[in-house]
C-alpha cells in the first residue's frame, strides 16, 4: 500500500514534466519551421539595426562610447561619426554584436569643452544611431579627489539633512499624542511621495532599456521584492508581531529612505558624469532642504522610544549614506539597468513602510486614521515634499 502511494507520487511528479517536454518539442518545431508559419501571414520587417548607447565617456583627446545590441539579430558596427564627420575609430570589444552584447567604440578626438557633441554609430546596413551629448565635459576617472568630492556631495544631500531633521526629536517628544499622530501621518505622506516619485522614475528609466532587458516587469520585480523584503524585516524586528513601532519602525523608515537615496545618488552621479546635469550649489541646497523632511520622518516614530545618540547617528547613516555610494557608482560605473532597479526597490520599500506607519497611526492616533490629525498630517507630508521638491526641479 505504502509502496503504491510512493510510486504514485513519483508518477505524478513525472507527469509534471510532460508539459515541459512537449513545450520543448513544440519549440523545436517552431525553430525548424517557424519562418514558414510567419510567411503565411506576411513578410517580417527587417531588423531595426539600431544600437543602445549605454554610456559616453570623454577623456583627454578621446571619446569612448559603450553601445549594446538590443535586438535578436546580430549587428555589425561599420562606421562612426562625430558631429557629422566620419572619424577613425577602434573597438574595445567585438565589431559584430550578438543579442545584448556590448562593445566600446574608441575615437581619438579633440572635442571642445562645454560644447555639444553628436556621436553617430552606423551599422553595416547603414542605419545610424545618434547620441547627443548636451555639453562636453571631462568624464571623471576614479581618483582620490573625485571620490572625496562625491563623498562630500553625498554627505551634503544625504546624511547632513537627515541628521538635521532628526534634531527635531526633542521637540517632538514634547508634543501631545494628537500632534504626534499628525507627525506620524506626515511621515506616511512623505514616504508616499517618495514611493510614487521613485516608481515613476523607475518606469521612466526602464522605458529607455531594450525590451529584452527591462520592461515594467523589471520594475514590478523590484517593487515586489523590496516590499516583501521589508515585510520580512519588519516581522523579524517585531519578533513576529504585526505592526512595528518605536525604534523598529524608525529603522524601517530609515531603510526605506536609504534605498531611495541610493537611487537618487546614482541618478545624480550618472547625470553629472555624463554632462547632463549642472550640479550647482543651488541643486545641492535644494536636495538638502528636500531631505531635511526625511529626518523628521525618521524621528517621528522614535519619539516614544529611548534612543541613544549612537543609534540616532546610525539611523542618519542608514537613511543618508547610500546617497554617497550611489553617486560613486553612478559616476564611475555603467548602471543603466541598476538605476531603474534601485528606484523600483525604493518604491517598494517606501510604500511598504507607508503601510507600517499607517498601521501605527491607526493604533495610536486619537480617532484613528480618519481623524483630522491623521488626514491633515498625511496631506501636509505630501505637500511638504512637493513644495521642497520644487527646489530640486
Amino acid at each position: 500500500m505504502e509502496a503504491r502511494t510512493a510510486a504514485g507520487e513519483v508518477g505524478w511528479r513525472l507527469w509534471a514534466l510532460v508539459p515541459i517536454l512537449l513545450l520543448a518539442l513544440a519549440v523545436a518545431a517552431v525553430v525548424s519551421q517557424g519562418d514558414r508559419v510567419v510567411d503565411l501571414v506576411g513578410g517580417a520587417p527587417p531588423p531595426a539595426d539600431e544600437l543602445d548607447v549605454r554610456r559616453v565617456e570623454l577623456r583627454q583627446g578621446e571619446i569612448r562610447v559603450l553601445v549594446r545590441n538590443p535586438q535578436r539579430e546580430d549587428v555589425t558596427i561599420a562606421s562612426v561619426t562625430v558631429d557629422d564627420a566620419i572619424v577613425p575609430f577602434s573597438l574595445d570589444g567585438p565589431a559584430t554584436l550578438g543579442r545584448l552584447r556590448s562593445s566600446t567604440v574608441v575615437v581619438p578626438y579633440d572635442w571642445v569643452p562645454d560644447e555639444p557633441l553628436s556621436i553617430g554609430v552606423t551599422t553595416s546596413t547603414g542605419i545610424q544611431t545618434v547620441h547627443d551629448v548636451p555639453a562636453a565635459v571631462l568624464t571623471p576617472e576614479p581618483g582620490a579627489r573625485g571620490f572625496l568630492g562625491y563623498l562630500l556631495i553625498g554627505l551634503l544631500v544625504g546624511v547632513v539633512p537627515v541628521a538635521l531633521g532628526l534634531l527635531w526629536l526633542p521637540s517632538l517628544r514634547r508634543a501631545g499624542s494628537a500632534w504626534l499622530a499628525a507627525f506620524m501621518a506626515l511621515t506616511a505622506g512623505l514616504l508616499t511621495f517618495l514611493g510614487v516619485e521613485a516608481l515613476f522614475e523607475a518606469l521612466e528609466l526602464q522605458a529607455g532599456l531594450p525590451p529584452s532587458l527591462g520592461g515594467p516587469g523589471l520594475v514590478l520585480l523590484g517593487v515586489a521584492a523590496s516590499a516583501l523584503g521589508m515585510t520580512f524585516l519588519s516581522m523579524r524586528l517585531t519578533k513576529g508581531r504585526v505592526g512595528a513601532s518605536g525604534l523598529a519602525l524608525a529603522l524601517l523608515v530609515a531603510i526605506g529612505i536609504g534605498v531611495h537615496n541610493l537611487g537618487e545618488g546614482l541618478a545624480i552621479g550618472t547625470s553629472f558624469a555624463t554632462g547632463e546635469l549642472q550640479l550647482g550649489a543651488f541643486l545641492v541646497i535644494g536636495f538638502m532642504v528636500h531631505n531635511v523632511t526625511e529626518g523628521l520622518a525618521i524621528a517621528a516614530p522614535a519619539t516614544r522610544a529611548r534612543v541613544t545618540l549612537v543609534r540616532l547617528a546610525a539611523l542618519a547613516l542608514i537613511a543618508g549614506a547610500p546617497a554617497i555610494l550611489g553617486t560613486w557608482v553612478g559616476a564611475y560605473a555603467t548602471n543603466d539597468v541598476l538605476t531603474p532597479l534601485f528606484f523600483a526597490l525604493a518604491a517598494g520599500a517606501a510604500l511598504q513602510v507607508v503601510v507600517e506607519v499607517g498601521r501605527y497611526v491607526a493604533r495610536t492616533a486619537p480617532g484613528g486614521l480618519r481623524s483630522g490629525w491623521a488626514v491633515g498630517g498625511y496631506l501636509a507630508g505630501i505637500a511638504a515634499m512637493w513644495a521642497t521638491g520644487l527646489l530640486t526641479g
Partner: protein, 337 residues
C-alpha cells in the same frame, strides 16, 4: 529624480547659484578641478590632431575606402573621344540591377544601378553620332533612362516606363556637344535617383577638344537610414576612395575633368581644388570659362574643368561643404614631375 527637469531648472537659475555656506568649499574644489582638466586638454589638443584624427589620418591606408586601387577606373576614365563623323552609330547596353553595394567600409547600400555600379557607366559620343542605347530592366521596379540633351520627346525616358523584365532601345542623335547626365525618371523620382540610377554623358564637339588626361567625377550622396538626409557623400560612388588611391597626373600636362552633381536631398554640391586653379566651362558648352578653384553645382548641373598642375605633389580636392568632405567626399591628386 527627474534629471531633465532638474537640469532645465538649473539652467534657468544658474545665475542664482552663487555658492554660499560650506557648500562652496566642497563644490568650489570640484569646479576648480574641472577647470584644470580643461586647460590640460586644450594644451594637448595639437598633439592629438596630428597623431590620430583629422585629414592626416584620411590618406592611404588610413582612409576609410572600399576596394582595390583600380576598381573605379571604368568610372574615372571615359572612353576615348572619336572624330566627328555624322550618322555613325554608337551602341551601348545598360541593364538595371538591384545590387547591395559597399559604399563605405562595412556599410552596404541596397542600390538600384545601371550595370552594377553607382554612378552608372560613362556614355560618350561625338556630336551628330546616332546613339543607340539598349536598356534592359533586370531590377524589381519600373525604370527609364532620361538623357539630358536635344532629342524627340518619345526618347526622353519619361513617358515610356520600362517594367521589370522589359526592355527599350533609345535612339537619337547626340546633341548638343557638352557634358550632360542621364538618370532614371520613373516615380517616385527622388527615390529612383538617390538609389543610384544616374551617370555621366559626354558629347564631344565637332572640333575636338585638346588631347588631355581626361577624368569623370560624379558627385553623389547616400541616405543609408532612410531619413531623407545623406549619411555619406562620395565622388564616383565610394567614400574617400581617391584619398586611399590618389589620382595620378603629371606636372604641366592638361588635365580635363568632367564634373557632375547627382546628389539627392542636398541643394548643392561643390568641387574645390587645393594649391592650384582651373578653368571651368558650365555644362561643357559655350565660350565662357571661369577661372577659379571652387565651383558649385545644383543637382543635375555639370561642367568641364581644365588645368595644368603648376607643381608636383599631393593636391587635395573635396566638396567645399565641410560636412560633405568629412562624410566621404574628399580625395587627392598625386602629381609627378
Amino acid at each position: 529624480m527627474a534629471k531633465l527637469t532638474r537640469r532645465r531648472l538649473l539652467c534657468a537659475t544658474a545665475p542664482l547659484a552663487a555658492a554660499p555656506l560650506g557648500v562652496k568649499l566642497a563644490l568650489g574644489g570640484q569646479a576648480e578641478a574641472a577647470g584644470h582638466d580643461h586647460e590640460a586638454h586644450r594644451a594637448t589638443a595639437g598633439h592629438v590632431e596630428t597623431a590620430a584624427s583629422g585629414h592626416a589620418a584620411m590618406i592611404g591606408e588610413g582612409a576609410p575606402a572600399v576596394g582595390g586601387p583600380n576598381d573605379l577606373d571604368a568610372l574615372l576614365y571615359p572612353p576615348d573621344p572619336r572624330p566627328h563623323r555624322p550618322g555613325r552609330v554608337r551602341e551601348y547596353t545598360l541593364v538595371a540591377h538591384d545590387v547591395e553595394l559597399e559604399i563605405a567600409p562595412g556599410v552596404f547600400f541596397p542600390a538600384w544601378t545601371y550595370n552594377g555600379t553607382v554612378p552608372g557607366p560613362v556614355i560618350r559620343a561625338t556630336e551628330d553620332d546616332l546613339l543607340r542605347v539598349r536598356f534592359v530592366n533586370a531590377g524589381a521596379h519600373p525604370h527609364t533612362i532620361h538623357f539630358h540633351g536635344i532629342h524627340p520627346t518619345n526618347m526622353d525616358g519619361v513617358f515610356e516606363i520600362v517594367g521589370p523584365g522589359d526592355e527599350l532601345t533609345y535612339e537619337f542623335p547626340a546633341r548638343p556637344a557638352g557634358f550632360h547626365v542621364y538618370h532614371c525618371h520613373a516615380t517616385p523620382l527622388k527615390k529612383h535617383i538617390h538609389k543610384g540610377l544616374y551617370g555621366a554623358f559626354v558629347i564631344d564637339p565637332k572640333e575636338p577638344r585638346e588631347p588631355a588626361r581626361e577624368l569623370v567625377m560624379v558627385m553623389n550622396g547616400y541616405d543609408t537610414d532612410g531619413d531623407g538626409e545623406n549619411n555619406f557623400y562620395t565622388v564616383n560612388g565610394r567614400t574617400f576612395y581617391y584619398a586611399r588611391y590618389p589620382i595620378r597626373a603629371r606636372k604641366g600636362e592638361l588635365v580635363r575633368i568632367y564634373l557632375a552633381n547627382l546628389t539627392e536631398f542636398d541643394l548643392i554640391n561643390s568641387f574645390h581644388l587645393h594649391a592650384d586653379f582651373f578653368r571651368y566651362q558650365p555644362t561643357g558648352t559655350g565660350e565662357h570659362w571661369e577661372y577659379t578653384d571652387t565651383v558649385m553645382q545644383c543637382q543635375g548641373q555639370r561642367g568641364v574643368l581644365e588645368l595644368r598642375f603648376a607643381h608636383a605633389g599631393t593636391f587635395m580636392f573635396h566638396a567645399h561643404q565641410s560636412e560633405f568632405t568629412e562624410l566621404g567626399w574628399m580625395g587627392y591628386f598625386r602629381v609627378e614631375e
